[in-house]
Symmetry: none
DNA sequence: CATGAATGAGATTTCATTCAT
DNA sequence: TATGAATGAAATCTCATTCAT
């Protein structure tokens, strides 16, 4: 396996430093050092620091919304689920998987979304706009079959996001060193969600 | 009503700018300008920028942990609750009230906790250490009376935090301009929590 | 004995702080604090910081050159001395006495003379110009009577200054806490000077 | 001959400005301007202003204490001297040589030693501790052979330092523009010292 | 292309000095 | 007259960005 290209090493380094220091707190010097290149070289690959942030968030955005990945979530949403439990398990597992694969992205995204209205707009447009309608349809389908409480789907989405996101926050940021039993957490989260959203 | 003291104007300005730009992104120039004072004057009131952050977060920390306020939550936790619903309502209302009174503090605290391990340590020590044990006892009391599911109390706390915190995030930061029906949100959150944590 | 006037307390405080931090390093805030007055009050007594320095050095300059005091040294110089030892003892004792009474002045003067050409000029003009000619005459008188080596008087003055000043430097600045036997030091300095300048 | 490196130009400029204005009075702006570089560039070469002072004094400290140079003085001290004159000439010439090569260092060192206890401690430890014991042994050897007065060696060292240092002060700082006959000064200083320390 | 030295705008902080009370 | 809050110029230091090699 060849050494990753300089460009990719920079992106990886930037991701780490952004996660640790925030976008404003991260210095191009630190990023270049961690990538093992000269500071000037960094600007051969990216016109400026914001472009680097875009490059870091870009793949994440793609991972969430780009056709092939979104298609997976969308597929889950479109599929007919026999039970609320099955539906929740499919969604939650997919998101937990994403979280486990990219904890740093989660952190950077949360930090920068707090600060950058523009990023919030992009997320709203590319994530919410794409995922919410299918999610709503899936909820309505379950609700019409009497498998789910009559909660407005957007509120159900927020509740689910709060539960899964809160777990991600504690698990990967606030107390990453604690003794976590991830499988138990997942099971209990699902049980809790299922009971909370049961008819 | 007299003009608020310069010191208080600075704190208010800093709170706003920190919330908008983050601690690192906020400039003392911007804070001083918004407070309507010269930049140098700012340092007559606070030895440095970090002290200003402390002054912004301090009241929040006090609001959460200082005896008289903590006592209120602690009182809620110590009291005997006739039902899970009553217990949840007491806790959630208290936290929602805090959130509604200090949305900017919530935002700054979240941002900085993501970045500053030291702040996480302080919160862990002053908030978690004080509130968790009484919360655990309250849960165990309810559980022993068969009013609550046999969830480990710390996990229950995380689930509740996720639900309430997620709401706070959407409500006050991500989409503060949306058409929110706060009373309905509160009611549904409580219903959801109560069902999810029911035996 | 009444409390010294505010003005004098400021001068005393300034002298200490100048000695500890140098003129540039001393802050008006520190001086005011040590004098026990408000910073603004300081400028009621002195138009600016340089005037304070002048007020600190002024009395010293007067002590060295002002008629009544200079007259004492001058008197010593004009007097007929029976021996080199007596001559040296008179001069050295006078200077040691000055040093012991005002160690801080010595320090401030040395520091600022290193930095301020203007101060060097003033000292040259008021001290050197006044004291050197009588000193030269005294030397020449001793030399003509065969009591002193044929050293050019200015060089003799420099040698004496080096010996006494070097002692002052070690005694009051570099190692003020050492176990000093001042009387022995004086005796040995005189013996050394007398031998060194003997015919 | 190539232009000296930027780093060396900065050190040379700093040395001059420190000598003229003192450490506190010297501004990085002035140093950068004299070195012909941008102010920011200065901090590429030295982490902060104090490091620049260290870089200016460092070579001096090395020149005085670093093995090869100290060894030279130490060699002089260890050697058997046939007469007090030869001993004094060896020591004084060595120190005068150092002084002539680095007058600015002498000045900066004196200024900062007056102000910085820490620097005094370093000098005490690295210079005094290394040179004093050999000096004492050399004196005792001369004294036991009846070639030198029974002066405690440390006092002899102070007397010599006063004479040589006083000369350095007048020669290089207070009146550098005067008409100096350095060879005569050296000769007379040695004669004076030899007579003063003779048995 | 990669480098790393250099830049200069801007950030935080200090401090002598002013002025309304 | 004394106060102390306020000022703003200037000092130290940072950092994204440029450019000759």
């Amino acid at each position: 396996m060849p050494r990753p290209s300089a460009r990719n090493r920079v992106i990886a380094a930037a991701q780490e430093v952004f996660a640790e220091e925030g976008f404003v707190g991260a210095t191009t010097r630190a990023i270049a050092a961690r990538a093992g290149i000269a500071e000037g070289t960094l600007f051969r690959h990216f016109p400026d620091k914001r472009a680097l942030l875009a490059a870091v968030l870009g793949p994440f955005a793609r991972d969430v919304v780009a056709p092939e990945v979104t298609r997976q979530v969308l597929a889950l949403l479109e599929r007919d689920h026999d039970s609320l439990e099955a539906f929740l398990a499919a969604i939650v597992d997919d998101r937990l998987d994403l979280l486990a694969r990219h904890p740093a992205w989660f952190r950077v995204l949360l930090q920068e979304a707090l600060l950058q209205p523009e990023l919030r707009r992009v997320l709203e447009e590319h994530v919410a706009a794409v995922l919410v309608p299918p999610f709503e349809r899936a909820c309505e389908k379950l609700q019409s079959r009497g498998l789910m409480a009559a909660v407005p789907p957007r509120r159900a989405l927020r509740l689910m996001s709060g539960v899964v996101g809160g777990y991600g926050l504690f698990r990967h940021i606030l107390a990453p060193d604690g003794p976590w039993d991830d499988e138990a957490e997942r099971r209990e989260m699902l049980r809790f969600l299922a009971k909370g959203l049961a008819p």
